[in-house]
């Protein structure tokens, strides 16, 4: 049952096949079992069990709150959760317990969702591997899958498997791993340059970055305010649509959310794509793109074409400037956003009390890792009076050009863009850390960050396994605020490709609560 989709398990709860408490306990026990994945920073067991108890009461009375009532979820540890430690995987916020819930968290709780815990990430969401947080790297569940192990046995001999585990991608790697390893049915990530879609691609799950302004950022500890969006990680597109339906809408606490009312929606099952126009941006055919991803990308394009959709090559001419531009804008906002962490009101404070300035300096040196400090330094450089015009203003102009590229393409009649999400499948940790965070982020965000600069909705849909047995996903990009249309196309694609379910028998077998469920076994053995 843990392998089910949110919608399936929700139906099971409604039919009384399982109670919220039973479901919660199963997830908790799997979380314990998969502790080595390091997906969770905090497991909020007590809170979850209490919520489950209340949910159970509601089901008994017949007034469940809806699709999410009794559903275990996880939240990235950069969303404020009232009474639950929120660390951003940083020494700076270790021990920080927010007094309020992020709007998105509150909305999920209001729907009766069970908060299993807070998931791991790169420190302050700065990274693309989920390797750079103080709690250590997140391990990709696929490292331990039957599919991957089988392939590895064929290739390598005598190599220690455990030492060669794969990264999840990031920065929402904990959330992606949590959903992928069946420890929850949906998780919140955040997406500033690809931080939801990238780990979704590496972990074989659906990762949705909604339109900027559709979902409240209130309570999300910011990386880049003008690009951050709460992300949704689920096992299928329909589930992402359910969660988006709950999260979307104006929040009086976030002035950048749109005022127009958003209605909850159910995705139609598209049967005919003949009226659809899919754009393939030629600039996304990067030389670094792995041949496997490239061939799956063209296979996907062919699939649309063969089903009657119009597939055309389009141009986003300013794509090549995107990463540099993103770097300037991102670090500038980081420099500004991180200024509040001074050790006075909350968070880490050093022991030095020679002067306020000395206290600030030592606190920030101890509290932030090299990546964060590096970005603060570059950002402040770009914001200096003498540099502002040459860097920040120029980057903003380029950002506008990049956003206009998308507008032009969509105005030409394209409904969605189809691109790779990542250059290749997940890398082994030992391989990944050969390059520094900055290099990796620049490489890995290549297909994803332009979308953030333009504020568009985009979703990673897992397509197939690589020759190594690892997931590869593709990205669909939609028109601003046409999230529903985007998901409709994604759902059609998902149905066509029938991405295989991760086989974690070895993990699951010990877990009696999981193995008693026949459905999982039957699906995963298919």
């Amino acid at each position: 049952m843990l392998g089910w989709t949110l919608r399936e398990v929700s139906a099971a709860l409604k039919q009384g096949q399982i109670t919220p408490t039973e479901l919660c306990q199963k997830c908790l026990s799997l979380i314990k079992k998969t502790k080595f994945l390091n997906a969770y920073i905090t497991v909020s067991e007590e809170v979850a069990l209490k919520q489950a108890e209340e949910s159970e009461k509601r089901y008994k009375k017949g007034h469940s709150l809806g699709d999410l009532d009794g559903i275990p979820i996880a939240v990235k540890d950069n969303f404020s959760t009232s009474g639950i430690e929120t660390t951003c995987a940083s020494n700076m916020l270790k021990g920080y317990v927010p007094p309020y819930n992020a709007t998105v968290v509150q909305k999920l709780l209001d729907q009766g969702a069970l908060l299993m815990g807070k998931t791991n990430l790169d420190e302050f969401a700065m990274g693309s591997g989920s390797t750079d947080g103080i709690f250590g790297p997140v391990k990709n569940p696929w490292s331990f899958s039957e599919q991957y192990r089988k392939k590895r046995k064929q290739k390598s001999h005598g190599e220690k498997e455990d030492s060669d585990w794969l990264i999840t991608g990031g920065s929402s790697g904990g959330s992606a791993a949590a959903v992928s390893a069946f420890t929850c049915f949906a998780a919140l990530g955040s997406d500033t340059g690809g931080s939801t879609r990238n780990p979704a691609a590496h972990c074989g799950v659906v990762g949705l970055k909604p339109s900027y302004g559709l979902v409240s950022r209130h309570g999300l500890i910011p990386l880049v305010n003008s690009m951050d969006v709460p992300g949704i990680l689920t096992r299928c597109v329909d589930d992402a649509a359910i969660v988006l339906g709950i999260l979307a809408g104006h929040d009086p606490k976030d002035s950048t959310t749109v005022q127009d009312p958003v209605k909850p929606f159910v995705l139609p099952s598209l049967t005919d794509v003949s009226k659809l126009c899919v754009g393939i941006p030629k600039e996304y055919l990067a030389p670094e793109l792995s041949s496997e991803v490239r061939s799956l990308w063209s296979k996907a394009a062919n699939l649309f074409e063969s089903e009657g959709a119009k597939v055309i090559e389009v141009s986003l001419p300013h794509t090549s400037f995107s990463i540099v531009c993103y770097h300037v804008l991102c670090t500038s906002e980081v420099a500004s956003n991180m200024a509040r962490f001074d050790g006075l009101e909350y968070g880490h404070r050093c022991d030095i009390d020679l002067s306020t300035e000395a206290m600030y300096a030592a606190t920030r040196r101890e509290g932030f890792n090299d990546v964060v400090r590096g970005r603060i330094l570059s950002g402040n450089f770009f914001l200096l009076k003498e540099n502002y015009e040459n860097y920040f203003v120029k980057a903003q102009k380029v950002r506008r050009l990049i956003a206009n590229d998308f507008v032009n393409v969509f105005n030409s009649g394209v409904d969605v863009l189809l691109t790779p999400t990542t250059l290749s499948e997940a890398a082994p940790y030992t391989e990944f850390i050969k390059e520094d965070n900055r290099t990796r982020s620049a490489q890995d965000d290549i297909f994803t960050q332009a979308v953030n600069m333009a504020g568009l909705p985009a979703v990673n849909v897992p397509m197939a396994l690589s020759s190594q047995g690892l997931p590869i996903g593709l990205q669909f990009i939609g028109r601003a605020f046409c999230d529903q249309q985007l998901l409709t196309v994604a759902k059609w694609f998902e149905k066509q490709v029938q991405f295989p379910i991760i086989q974690l028998q070895e993990l699951m077998e010990d877990c009696s609560s999981v193995s008693e469920n026949g459905k999982l076994a039957s699906v995963s053995l298919k």
Partner: protein, 557 residues
């Protein structure tokens, strides 16, 4: 106002009013032309001619000072600029702090409608152009009472620009003549106030109170059109009255609701402006003019001694009466301005541009605010002058004290006395008593009705003017009694008994034969002496004209 600590003469006599409209400074000089008929911003030709006319000797060149102001006025509103926290003066420390005010991560600013309306209204009152689109920026600096590490302000595109503020300075022998001046308003911007740091030097610790953090401020930037402390103080005073009339700020300097930074430089007329310094945190009307005048003189003396002026931030030490460079390098900082990404552009509308079907809660209509503008102090003063034939300086004085105008108007309602007389009583006697006891108008023991009744008694010639003063003193001391009661108790009514007066006059003349002799010799002033003596004998209860009549009759008889 106490005399500024200056090395030369005192204000008003020390400098000449240049034709640029401001005060100019003269080393060792005597005042030159002291009229100020010139209009602001006149061409340099006027300045040139001034210099030529003076034929300066070596080392005796004239100086002109240029003063610009940045004024921070706390907006009068129930809640803060970007959060729902309440705004109160003197609440217990850190009792009015929302999560946003404490900069808890993840919190976002939500703009307070009332603050925007206050800014628009102030902009309209200062004749500004209201920007239909304005933007917010972050200004970064690290300070213990700035929790976010940046202040949200409007650096690039403020809500109002290009206005003007008309004010008056008093000139002339008794400084009794009001001369009109204008200073251009460069811009009005909305921004957050910071918290307060309380330094405990004894324990070497700093205590932070965030109650003020995030309170809405209007920063009003006045162009450097002023030229001395007195002008700056007068401009600030006028702005204060306007803000109070609008209700957009309580603008009480003592409570920190109005704070002033001054930019000051000196130059020789006709030459480019000098390097300026900024004197920060001038938080009392009294020290504002003193600090500016000190700084002007300091700069002149520095330059004349071959020194140079540094572009620096200084503070005013009110105990020593001088400005000092500020130790922290706040003025030198690069604030690394950046657009505030969490606030969309602030859009305002007028009746013509208002989108159809817009939610009135979500839009601000400039025209609607214009209609709500109350009468401005300058208009009130003009009306006083026209309606009561009052001297302009008296109209200033009436508006200068909170509640005084209302008091005056209430007296006027109930008395038949001449406006001139009422003005004199209110501005001299009444205000004098208040000042002496350091009371506000609202704390006065004498009500407008009581004063009106008293003036009516004088008007009816029931009591003399001097008796009226006695009655007033008594009114001040013993609350509750009416003037009529006091007059009766103290027997202060004018003598109506001609017989008694005749007798007193006769007795006085008999007692002072020398004076009578003088009078008869033709000394015209002797009669006044006699009148005085008789009045004294009547305890001030006889009308001097009546006494004179009787005396003259008796003398001629």
């Amino acid at each position: 106002m106490a005399a500024p600590v200056l090395r030369w003469l005192c204000p008003g006599r020390r400098w000449a009013f240049a034709r640029t409209g401001g005060c100019s400074y003269h080393r060792r000089g005597v005042p030159t032309a002291s009229t100020s008929s010139g209009k602001r911003g006149q061409s340099s030709v006027a300045q040139q001619s001034l210099i030529t006319a003076q034929e300066p000797r070596k080392g005796d060149r004239e100086w002109a000072a240029v003063v610009g102001l940045e004024i921070h006025a706390q907006i009068s509103s129930n809640s803060k600029l970007f959060s729902g926290s309440q705004v109160h003066f003197a609440a217990p420390p850190n009792s009015l702090v929302s999560f946003f005010d404490a900069s808890l991560p993840g919190t976002l600013p939500v703009l307070n409608r009332r603050c925007v309306e206050a800014a628009v209204m102030t902009g309209l009152a200062l004749d500004c152009r209201i920007n239909k689109k304005s933007l917010f920026d972050r200004k970064h600096y690290f300070y213990a009472d700035l929790p976010a590490g940046y202040q949200i302000t409007q650096q690039r595109l403020p809500i109002a620009v290009d206005g003007s503020l008309a004010y008056s300075v008093c000139v002339g022998k008794k400084r009794g003549q009001a001369v009109a001046r204008t200073v251009r308003v460069r811009q009005i911007q909305l921004e957050q106030d910071s918290g307060k740091s309380l330094h405990d030097d004894l324990r070497s610790q700093t205590l932070v109170d965030l109650n003020r953090a995030g309170v809405g401020l209007l920063e009003v930037v006045l162009e450097p059109d002023m030229s001395c402390g007195e002008e700056a103080a007068a401009a600030v005073r006028e702005l204060q009255l306007i803000l109070q009339a609008l209700g957009t700020s309580r603008a009480i300097m003592a409570e920190g609701q109005l704070r002033v930074d001054a930019n000051i430089s000196v130059h020789h007329p006709g030459e480019p402006l000098g390097v300026r310094t900024e004197v920060k945190n001038l938080n009392s009307a009294r020290f504002l003019a003193r600090a500016i005048d000190y700084e002007i003189q300091r700069q002149i003396s520095e330059l004349e001694n071959g020194g140079e002026i540094l572009n620096e931030t200084r503070s005013f030490d009110y105990k020593l009466g001088c400005t000092m460079p500020m130790r922290d390098k706040e003025g030198k900082q690069d604030y690394r301005f950046m657009p505030e990404p969490n606030l969309p552009p602030l859009l305002l509308y007028d009746s013509a541009s208002l989108p159809a079907g817009a939610d009135p809660q979500q839009v601000i209509n400039i025209d609607q605010i214009r209609e709500q503008l109350p009468e401005l102090p300058s208009v009130t003063r003009e009306k006083l002058v026209q309606r009561y034939g009052m001297l302009p300086e008296h109209s200033f004085a009436l508006l200068n004290e909170v509640g005084l105008l209302e008091f005056f108007q209430n007296v006027m309602k109930e008395t038949r006395a001449e406006p001139k007389k009422v003005t004199s009583w209110v501005l001299n006697t009444f205000l004098g008593f208040l000042k002496q006891q350091n009371l506000a108008v609202s704390e006065s023991p004498v009500t407008p009705s009581a004063l009106a009744e008293l003036l009516n008694l004088v008007e009816r010639k029931a009591i003399s003017s001097s008796a009226a003063k006695q009655v007033f003193e008594e009114l001040w001391r013993s609350e509750g009694k009416t003037p009529a009661q006091i007059v009766a108790e103290k027997q202060l009514e004018l003598m109506r008994d001609d017989e008694a007066l005749e007798q007193l006059c006769r007795a006085t003349m008999e007692a002072h034969p020398q004076v009578v002799m003088d009078l008869k010799k033709g000394n015209p002033r002797a009669i006044n002496k006699l009148i005085g003596l008789v009045r004294k004998a009547t305890l001030g209860r006889a009308d001097p004209t009546a006494i004179k009549d009787v005396l003259e009759r008796q003398l001629s008889g």
